[in-house]
């Protein structure tokens, strides 16, 4: 389906699609898993360590638990962004599929925008907070 056509024809579908994606990758860890895998594949525990380096700051924890990593990987596999293979000795090996790699592009668009505007955003936050808004 051509995009301009979609964009013009059905704004609610546009919104729904974007929300779908946020639902998919908007959880605490999935985006980080993609970061962790985008250069090269990794096995489970290796990936966990990579992600611990990247560590998100919100909420309680700064390291990913087995449970959350397994869950994020399952979601991404289900959507076809990540593949799991058995390496030598029955060890798991996770990698991005070509679909997963293609997702890197919009992901970087989001990232680039943030990098470009982070100063503005932080300034706006300061101003807003200083204005003593409730």
């Amino acid at each position: 389906m051509p995009l301009d056509q979609l964009r013009n024809a059905d704004p609610s579908r546009v919104a729904a699609l974007a929300r779908d994606l946020l639902d998919r990758v908007g959880d605490r860890w999935s985006a980080l898993v993609i970061y962790g895998l985008h250069e090269r594949p990794a096995r489970f525990s290796e990936l966990r360590e990579r992600i611990d380096e990247l560590g998100p700051r919100r909420l309680r924890r700064t390291e990913i638990s087995n449970k959350m990593l397994a869950e994020a990987l399952r979601g991404l596999r289900r959507d076809g962004l990540v593949a799991r293979a058995e390496g030598v000795g029955g060890h798991a090996e996770y990698s991005l599929t070509s679909l997963g790699r293609s997702f890197w592009i919009p992901m970087m668009a989001v990232h680039d925008w943030t990098a470009d505007h982070i100063a503005e955003i932080e300034e706006a936050r300061r101003a807003f907070d200083d204005a003593g808004m409730p």
Copy 2:
């Protein structure tokens, strides 16, 4: 800061920035508010109706409550994506700032990717579910 430099220099900062943005706009309603405002400004109740048209499907509700709309608007205002003005008769008027409008571009990148690959994703989901994964 030049982006390539950032991208090469500090992967954890890259990840952190993207997560910041997901934290900002990854909640249930914020993206929809931006959709609702991107063509023209609206007042509170008008915006609420526009968003009700777009309605997300996850969770319990299909319409946005006063509380959630107010909260989403506060967050977006705080980050400088949305501005509030008093119209005639003390009525509120919300609009995207230029920062907010610029965010449309990465947002569409995400959307376009989803539109391009939604069939693949759905197919992957079917396959995964049919394979009876736990």
